[in-house]
Symmetry: none
Subunit: 142 residues, 4 copies
DNA sequence: GTGGTCTAGACCACG
DNA sequence: GTGGTCTAGACCACT
């Protein structure tokens, strides 16, 4: 139960962020895996428990878990629960890649309108990576 | 009629992209400004004309234009048309910056799940910049 | 349902006032907040319900709500409803201030042509404040 | 021809201000009268001349003049031109008064959302009066 | 011709 | 249930 004591702090929902709640859950599971806060084989909170914690309907959590399973990030086992996939598949999905590239392209143009040129924007992106990696290093010994 | 001959190729809609049509229009206007396809003072296609070109209703184009006006990218004059703002404001908007940073953060994590590490992702971002800048160089000498 | 019993009397539309319906809705929401009829966190009537009450299309109400959200007066949450923003931002917007000052300037000159001099006009403005504040005092003790 | 040398500087149009051009012309004539820049009996520029000066169509100027005549601010004499009315009628128009009061009411609420309370707003209104009166005193000796 | 607003309906995503 | 988006068409004000 690696995650049991951290559930409340690990997931947090912003109802007014415009983003769908199930997407926020998905992103946070992914970020937790990225930071190795959750490792392959670790169990996730049950649908009901997480729903209670976040004060959302179980439906919403279930949707997030189903989509995460379709992306091969987690596996769910009937009667046991949901777990981080043992071998997370870094499978190339060209369609998805193109969608993300479009997203990034849009973000870069937006940055321009805030006064950030290429150099500044890439600096900011590297900072985000430092941020992501930093939290990872804080959670395990290597 | 600075832009008149380029309208058909400048704007294109992807009905299955998940993104709202009016958002796609907004992004493409912004990109056109970024690439200096459209310069301050240039006129945009009329709401009706662009609606015909894209086979959408004038309402959808009007919504895009109205939001662009709110963002100070264009100005619209009743009975005359819509034009790229003379002084596009590169104003700092901390709230918007944070929203975009969250977007980028999400995209970076997604890239990770497609197997792209930091170096590869930044390479890809630089490619996008080359793409954006490249088309700009085609339109003026500097 | 803080506002549920007051919806019918709180909002009223004047079809012949020259002002757009969505602007009238926006103004009335703002006035309701000013008078503390609606307090931060209170829910607004749903788009459909208010549309029915006012006999306008949901589109018109939705437009008002979306613009109010852009102005940070309310927040909307998909599938849940619209709510008065917790921390309404009294942020200084010089451009908006100048626009309002121009409006007031115009109104003052108009008052002159109706025979009201400065003293009389300011008296009338104070009356409007009394009106606005008066209704507020009816809703809480201070 | 009191106004002949001042026409270019007296009238100025902002095509992107949202306000209709004919309304801007009307307001500026009224303000000029208010400031006694234009006095009863003074001639206004001809429709064609002002249209040229402002780079608008004569139609637009003519509309402004017609409405000013309906408000008894000016009189037009066929073949001679337009003149400031000798006895500007400060006639009470209740309907118009109510419309202006609604405008002011709206402006006051907007000021609130910019952080101006009653005292500050009235201070600002008095400043506008000072501004209007000031320019008046600069243009004639009394 | 232009943009601005509105209606009456529809479908979708979300909770 | 909620809000978000879109269509197809209309009328209006302005230039």
């Amino acid at each position: 139960m690696v995650q049991s004591k951290g559930v409340k702090k690990m997931f947090h929902i912003n109802g007014a962020s415009g983003k769908a709640i199930y997407e926020q859950i998905m992103e946070q599971v992914k970020e937790a895996v990225f930071k190795e806060y959750l490792k392959p084989g670790d169990s996730l909170p049950s649908v009901r428990k997480l729903a209670l914690t976040l004060s959302v309907t179980p439906n919403t959590v279930a949707k997030a878990y189903q989509l995460l399973e379709k992306e091969k990030i987690i596996v769910t086992i009937r009667g046991k629960g949901a777990f981080i996939a043992k071998n997370i598949s870094y499978e190339m999905d060209l369609e998805k890649l193109n969608r993300i590239k479009e997203d990034i392209r849009g973000s870069l143009v937006e940055m321009k309108y805030l006064g950030f040129d290429e150099t500044e924007t890439i600096k900011l992106i590297q900072d985000i990576y430092v941020d992501l990696e930093g939290e990872r290093n804080g959670n395990h010994r290597n």
